[in-house]
Symmetry: C2
Subunit: 136 residues, 2 copies
């Protein structure tokens, strides 16, 4: 049984898709990724598809699923390294990869994640002075 390795890089997880995703492999990837997000408390997921030459509706749905699941777990997903031909095909097919962010390469993807995470109100960064109205 093949599994796609998930690499932890600081606060992010990196997945490189090199082989065609079939049902079970995609399902395993979703499961593994969500477990890893939970275990490592990752804030972002980078999915590199530079080796993928064909993105069909199945692949599009898997990427969308991963993005939605990760968002529920408070992690953003960025798909990086898309080949120009793949982008052309996606638009021609009308597949818009909804809810999935994209970036040119891993480095730009990391910058994007940093911006996205940095712009979120981070509750751990400064303890907000809430009006203390529990007087009992």
């Amino acid at each position: 049984m093949e599994r796609i390795p998930i690499l932890k890089m600081g606060p992010y997880l990196l997945v490189t898709i090199q082989i065609d995703l079939y049902d079970r492999l995609a399902l395993n990837l979703e499961n593994d990724l969500i477990s890893m997000v939970s275990k490592t408390e990752a804030r972002g997921v980078l999915i590199d598809i530079s080796a993928v030459s064909i993105v069909d509706s199945f692949m599009g749905r898997i990427l969308g699923n991963i993005a939605s699941m990760s968002r529920i777990m408070d992690a953003e997903t960025v798909v990086v390294g898309m080949q120009p031909a793949v982008a052309i095909t996606l638009v021609e097919l009308g597949l818009t990869l909804q809810g999935v962010h994209t970036a040119l390469n891993v480095e730009r993807g990391m910058e994007l994640l940093q911006t996205m995470i940095g712009s979120q109100p981070d509750s751990t960064e400064d303890d907000e002075e809430e009006p203390d109205d529990c007087n009992d």
Copy 2:
């Protein structure tokens, strides 16, 4: 023709091996990697083999080759993510992966690279005051 993607991460290159290396694929990987080291002026190469469950003498030779070639191009190579069973097999087979550094995971591998590169005399860091003896 399949190719293994090479990801640029700052001063390092990252390769994740997910499929069995056969002759042509391994040759392509060597070529691509050396071209990338040259093009991006990378100082280190990280090879993740966490998805590899069998390392034989062929694989060992490829890893050794990549390390030797990279070193000539002034880049260090670290193999990361080796499965425990693979380490056991390597030792039992007497394959020592000569000239190849190893680390537990990508993060530790990056730390190792930083240490290795940091300890090298870096000519760009400070311009040495050479005795100026060209008086003509």
